[in-house]
Each structure stands twice: as structure tokens, then as C-alpha cells.
Symmetry: C2
Subunit: 386 residues, 2 copies
Amino acid sequence: MSIEPKSDSVGIVTPKVEHFDQPLALGSGQSLPAYDIVYETYGELNASRSNAILICHALSGTHHAAGLHSDSDRKPGWWDHCIGPGKPIDTQLFHVVSLNNLGGCAGSTGPASINPATGRPWGPEFPVIGARDWVASQARLADRLGIARWAAVIGGSLGGMQAMLWAIDLPDRIAHCVVIAAALKLSAQNLAFNEIARQAITADPDFHDGWFLEHGSAPRRGLAIARMVGHVTYLSDELMGDKFGRELRSGSLTQGGVSNAEFQVQSYLRYQGDQFADNFDANTYLLMTRALDYFDLAREFGDDAPAAFRRAAARFLVMSFSSDWRFSPARSREIVDALISAGRDVSYTEIEAAEGHDSFLLPVARYHEALGLYLKRVHRELSHAA
Amino acid sequence: MSIEPKSDSVGIVTPKVEHFDQPLALGSGQSLPAYDIVYETYGELNASRSNAILICHALSGTHHAAGLHSDSDRKPGWWDHCIGPGKPIDTQLFHVVSLNNLGGCAGSTGPASINPATGRPWGPEFPVIGARDWVASQARLADRLGIARWAAVIGGSLGGMQAMLWAIDLPDRIAHCVVIAAALKLSAQNLAFNEIARQAITADPDFHDGWFLEHGSAPRRGLAIARMVGHVTYLSDELMGDKFGRELRSGSLTQGGVSNAEFQVQSYLRYQGDQFADNFDANTYLLMTRALDYFDLAREFGDDAPAAFRRAAARFLVMSFSSDWRFSPARSREIVDALISAGRDVSYTEIEAAEGHDSFLLPVARYHEALGLYLKRVHRELSHAA
């Protein structure tokens, strides 16, 4: 083994880009003529090319899941506590591939990219992309990387939905499917919050019907509000209470102008919203929330989720978090029930965690332990098969 | 008894206005120099003036709680199913007073009223108003109407908070306090949703820092988004699922432009938002949500809610709804626990209802039955005392 700068970090990583010239036919009936996919890899691919794990990201994720981009980089990848040597997704055992989805804004082709047909950014004319399209584009990336079959496809939230579609659409190419804090489809309440987020973006005059880049602007306030709405649904009421309660910023109510943030939770939310608005493309946010809305695993199977899962061959690990009210444990149990009805091999664990939906992004000890043990078993199988 | 046009309706009602010249000192340290209060009454005041009930409204309520304003009026008051002859708040037994709170936009002095000092609308310079200020202004109205003591003060949500403050601040003037779907204070999550609503309003360029009337405009889109946020928190996930599920408007996904409302719940929310934006003053919405934020029953009592309630003499009925996640039954039980600790007389009932927080505005059978029985007892006491 080589010497690591930090024993449990994947260290400095460099994103790679693959260009695809063959048009991608999309579920919407549209087609993407050519595109780039940016991705990172951590850990070595073994000689039999059998130890690769694909990470599917959620609403606002990127390819940068672990490690640092330079010596001076202070912010590691979004799942750094989970991916690395000796970590649950152990890079001493697995070759991990993490990409930015099509339609994203972190380097893969998306609404801010140039539309070759017009020479200007795609903007609102970027094709509608669904979770199934992502899986198809990820499969092409796997082809390019010479990965015929994933040891596991892992995703949380919207990422878990992609993992399930991998198992259904490409059953020969996925051995294990890890579905964390996901659902078979969005509830009416989920749809409602997404609708509000999109309304906030499109109502911002700086949105310019999606042509904000052409106008040298960005719907920052709308995007910040959209993020605040999302953020509240990611956290549990309990966590927000523990974290902020009704703490005042100044120690006493000023009852001043409406622009004052008098409670800690207000300034926290505003900070979260502003940070996000500085770093995310509004058209990507619209696209990602719509991909969530449209996702409905059983739709093409007569609303029969077990029928969908009967096409799968993978073994499943489904995980949920007790305080998640966005995709509650009940929603994960629907997945498990459908898998059982389909006769599939499934393990399920509900993790006690106070952090709501966000738990899937956090280093919750029992969660890491359960995921790590499952993947160790996956790795042992590889050794036996070899 | 006179002949009623509809036997269970209070019939045609005419709002009345009382003008107050004496300045009202407010909790914010500011003062309102003079003001109007618009109100309605239903049912006859008895000879001993002991059978009056005060209705305190919630965030977007008005004085028009029951009956119709004309023969051609098709929309009865907001609590018409609960107030009338033979209804839970029985106008054959009680004289019901319902007012529009100060700061409102239905006829009482508020941000859209003319500031006598400037000759233009108060707009954002309208004083900050708290629930305690409303109680003080309601007491002045009671003085004017010759009502020394209410048989009951009744309110749901923010209205319930006013009812509790009546019991604490003016214990001699309230015999019964009916607190429906309320809380001792807002949670961090409650605060967060209010903050998002206000951000949506103030981010709208038509808000003009609150001077939209001067600009002949109104922040309609921001107000609509604010209302949508609120509306989702009023409904239960279960109800939204039953009502809309993932029903599509067209029967199939069009995956068209982002402005399309493809799911029923989207068009429903947009309709709710637009309706509200046409009929409500944005500055009033800001004021009402801040009154909610600032409400904290125990604040002036060393965060000791029982100490607050020890000042009360009224008997209490506390009611909650099983599916309410805005002010859940657990929040009502906190009220009940504090009342018990304070040695107060309290009845509590949790009503099974699927409609979430909105249940308090709906004709839920068990709710009406419990409220009606309680008020019949209140009326019997009046007869015995007489």
C-alpha cells in the first residue's frame, strides 16, 4: 500500500471528462446531440474489473464526492466521510466512480453549456431529463471505462431512485443496489414543495424566462428561496429545535424592520439560500426537481412496483432514517414490500437519526456501520467469485 | 323567534365599524394614534350581557365569520358551518362578536390605511403588532359594546394564542377559553416557513420595500408563493395524497415547459396562491406572520408556562387534530400540561381528522360535536348564574 497523506482520505483527486458524440435519446422524446460527463474515481479497479461502485447523486450533488482538489482545498467532497480507505465505501476494496449528472452545473453538459445548434447557452431549451436518462448516460460512461457490471450502485434520495432504475433497466450490469432515503415516487406534498421552489425561481425577474445567462444575470433571490424551502424539508423539526430553538441573534426581540433576521434560524436559512444561489444554476434546479416529480418507478408497469422489480436481478440494501419526513421510513418500506412481493433479495434497516432527510449525507454511526458491513460482504463475494 | 331565511344560517349580516381616538400603546414600544375596528355580531345579547362570545381569527381571517353580506352573496363567512342557530357556536344561545384584527386588511386599521401623520398609506411604517396588542384592542371594543366579561373567547391557531392571552392578561373578563390547534410558541420549523414566506414577498420587485400601494403595484407573485408555502403546512400529507395523489391534469406527462402545471396539486396550489394574492395585503401578511413568530406565551414569565397560566381564572377547552403537523397534538398537550401544572380547569380532546391544521376551519363532525357540547354547558352555567 502507498502512503496516504491522511490515512482515511482519498487525498487529492482530479476530475476527468468524457465526451460523447453519439446522440442520447431521452424519455421526453427529445435527444441530446453530444455531451460531456465529468467524473472522479477513487481506489483501484481490480484486474477482473469487478470491484467498481457507482455513486448516483441527489438534487444538488456533484461528481466531487470525496477527497480534495488541491493542497489548499479546504472543502472535501460531499460524501467524504463515507468514501475513503477504511470508510464504509472502502477505497482499499473498491474502485468508486462518481459523476455529475447530465443537466447538472458542475461540469457535465447542462443548461449553462453551449447548445451547438445555436452557439449560445441551452438555458431553458435544454432537454427535459429524467432519472432513466441519467441511468442510460451512466451506462455509456461505464462502457467507456470498461466496467461491464457494477459491484454496487449506491444512491441517496434522487440518487436512490437512479440506483433502482439501474437494477430494473440493466439487470445484468449491477450486482447490488443500495437505496438510501428514497421512495417509489413523490407524494403530493413532495410535489407541492418542488412546485413552490420552481415558482420562486421563475417569479424572479432576473430569471428572464430562463435566459438569465444571456442577460448577464441570475435569479439569485428566487433560487435562494427555493433552496430554503428544500432545506426545511431536509431537516427534522426536532433537529431544527435542537439546533436553533427560538434562539435570538441579539438576545432580545428588536421587533424592527422586516428585513432583520431576529431568530437564529432565519439567518441560518438566509445563509444557506445565499450560498446555494451563488453556486448553482437555476435551470439545473428546475430540471432536477422535475426529474424528481416525474420519477414514478411503477408507471411503465401498470402502477405495479413488484412487476417493475421482477426485472431486477441485483440484491438490495434499503435504508431509511427515523426522522426523515421528506422520504419517511414508510416510503422505504413500500420499496421493501414491493421487492419482497417480487421475490427479490432485500435487506432493510431503519436508522435512528435526528437529522431528518439530511441524515443520508451525514456521518451517522449506525448508518456507516450498516453500510460498511454490507459492502464488506459484497467484497467477500467478489473474492470468492474470482 | 323570528323566521330565518335558512334555518341554520345567521342570514344577512352587516359589518359595523368602531372608531377609537385614544392612542393604543403597543408591545413594540410604538403607539397607534387612532384606529378603526370592523366587526360583525350574530345572535342577541341577553339582558345581563353575559352571553357574549368573542371569535379571534387566525393568520388570514377576517371579521366576516358567518352569514352572507347580501342576497346575492354566494360566499358565507369563514366559520359559517360552526356559527349559527343550532350550530356548535349557537346563535340562539350566544351573542357572537367577530372582528378584524388591527393590522389586517379587511376593514380594520392596517398597513393599507392612511397614516394621519403623512396623509399616505402606512405601508411598511405601520407599527409592529403582537397578539397581546390585539387582545388590548379587543378589550376596548368589548368596553364599547358594554361586554364586561366574555362567556367564552374562542380561537384557532393564531386565534387560540389570542384566547390564551385573554385568559392571562384579563382574567376577570373571560369565563371560558377555547384554544384550538394552537401552541405555546412557534417551533424553529414554524419560524422557518414564515421566514421563507416573508422572503418571497420582500424579494418581489413589486414589493418596493413595502411601498407598493404608492407605486400602484402589489407583490402578487411573492404573496402567492408565501400563501402556497403556508397552504402546504396547513394540509396533511395524507389529505394531499387523497385529494390529488399524483393525478395528472392531462392524463399523461407532457414534460413540457416549466410553466406547465402537469400535476393537479400544482394547479391547485397556483390557484390558491393567486386567489390569495388578489385579496390580501402583503404588509398585513408580513405583520401577521411576525406576530406569530413573536408569540411566546411564557416569555414574560421566565419561560415558565405554568407561571403564566397561574394568572388565569378561566376554564379551558383545548382541542387538537391528529394530522396537524403545523401545530401538532403534542403542542396542544404542552398547553394542557402547563394548565394542569398551574392548577387550572382544563378539558382536552384530540380529534381524529385527516385534514391537517386546516381541520380547525372545517366541519369535522367530532370536532363540532365536542365544541357544541362544551358551549351548551357554558350556556347552562349562565342560566344558573342568572
